[in-house]
Amino acid sequence: MPVRVTADEARSVVLDYLERFLDDVEGIDDTPLITGGLLDSLVVVQLIDHLQQSFDIAVADEDLELSNFDSVNAIVGLVARKTGGS
């Protein structure tokens, strides 16, 4: 069972992850990550794996919508919904 995760906790994990690949993650909460070409295709794959492992959630096929992954805010929202947090 996924542990309840707050939006702040989720944001922190996502930004930590993005910081591995991007120089400056401050203020990018709404920046398009995938359609904006910020993340290489392999990095997107690794990000999805990282979310699944960090939050013990399963990202299913129906979750794969750009509206769930194309920005930090979108990802935070997805994680919150998946873990039953807010």
Partner: protein, 379 residues
């Protein structure tokens, strides 16, 4: 008897003698995969519930290494077939997954159709398009250098939709599909490369693999990780065969009784080739184990293995050719064939320079992750 043993015996008994002839002709026969199907290797990336054999990455890698010892062109069938079957299993619709059994056991080959004339390493330049049609999708575009495209029954095609890049399962007999042989290449001569033309090819909604916007990442990106692992093991197989040929030549007494092995400069060449091949094998095995364990840096390990192994193949094939002298220049001979095949290993599933670029991203990311431990709130 393990599946790997069965594969080794099959290669020795049924394929070994005929491979040189196929390579000379520049074409594997249409049913080349049917023999392989009996060993379970074609279902290796498919779970039992869909008629597969569910091998580990390590076991599949080993199969790639064994096949490449006989023929790198034939090994590339395992690369593309493995990529497509694993993608369909992970992201395919329920009806498409139900058809995996045919790919896993019947010897029907699956081909990977990503590359275009103007979109090789830069997959974002993709031109093929898929438009929503009344009953599914309508695909238009031209895919190039599709390995085994001449004989494949099913293609995993990447195209842009109005909602982003996506992957589709296209059958050979779908309307609007035209398959033309590519010119025979110097390496992987017999791999039946094809041009795949899609001229308003209409397919049902169940043929969409994954979701629009995630074709190049979730479907293509993951498939390429597996593909690079396969190329790494195939390259190791090639490097080992080249080395064995070089050692056999070095150890032969010449007419005056003197052996090449006594020439110090040649000993240096062989020592370097052994280190490259052995190192590559360890990296390939480590990458396969990381994929099996779903380890955090498995992608990085796979890139490292592909880079090292394809270069080891180039080194070992080159050393072997140099040691064989004029004999190594024979056009149809195995020594020269390995030189040509090694070139291909440095191009497919990400060329050497692209892989270096991706690997540099990964090692920098890993360094950042490890040098900034803890979460950002504590900083």
């Amino acid at each position: 008897m393990t599946a790997t043993d069965r594969l080794r015996d099959l290669l020795q008994d049924k394929y070994a003698d005929r491979i040189a002839e196929w390579e000379r002709a520049g074409a594997f026969p249409d049913d080349v995969a049917s023999g392989l199907a009996d060993t379970g290797v074609l279902g290796a990336m498919v779970p039992a519930e869909h008629g597969g054999t569910a091998w580990s990455h390590r076991a599949y890698g080993e199969a790639n290494r064994l096949v490449a010892q006989h023929s790198c062109g034939l090994q590339s069938l395992l690369t593309v077939h493995g990529m497509v079957t694993s993608a369909l299993n992970r992201s395919g619709s329920v009806p498409m997954r139900a058809e995996l059994a045919e790919l896993a056991a019947a010897g029907t080959v699956a081909a990977f159709a990503l590359t275009e004339a103007a979109a090789g390493s830069d997959v974002r330049a993709l031109r093929a398009a898929a438009e929503p049609a009344p009953d599914g999708w309508r695909l238009t575009g031209t895919k190039r250098w599709v390995s085994f495209g001449q004989i494949a029954g099913l293609f995993l095609v990447f195209a842009n939709t109005p909602d982003g890049d996506a992957a589709f399962a296209v059958r050979r007999d779908d309307p609007g599909v035209r398959i033309t042989p590519e010119a025979v290449t110097a390496g992987f001569r017999a791999s039946r490369l094809a041009i795949l033309d899609l001229d308003g090819c209409e397919v049902g909604p169940e043929r969409l693999v994954g979701r629009p916007g995630f074709g190049l990442t979730q479907v293509g990106g993951r498939a390429l990780v597996l593909g690079r692992m396969c190329v790494a093991f195939g390259s190791v197989g090639l490097a080992e065969t080249a080395l064995n040929a070089a050692l056999a030549r070095l150890d032969q007494p010449g007419p005056t009784g003197r052996r090449l092995r006594d020439h110090q400069l040649l000993r240096g060449l062989v020592a370097d080739a052994v280190v490259a091949a052995r190192g590559a094998r360890l990296l390939a095995e480590s990458a396969a184990d990381a994929l099996d364990a779903r380890a955090e840096w498995a992608v990085s390990e796979t890139l490292a293995a592909k880079l090292a192994a394809s270069r080891a193949a180039t080194v070992a094939a080159g050393v072997s050719a140099q040691i064989h002298g004029a004999e190594g220049l024979v056009e149809d001979g195995p020594v020269h064939r390995r030189v040509c095949d090694a070139r291909v290993m440095e191009v497919i599933e990400g060329n050497t320079q692209l892989v270096q670029d991706l690997l540099a991203d990964q090692v920098l990311a890993r360094w950042r992750a490890e040098s900034r431990p803890g979460d950002r709130r504590s900083r």
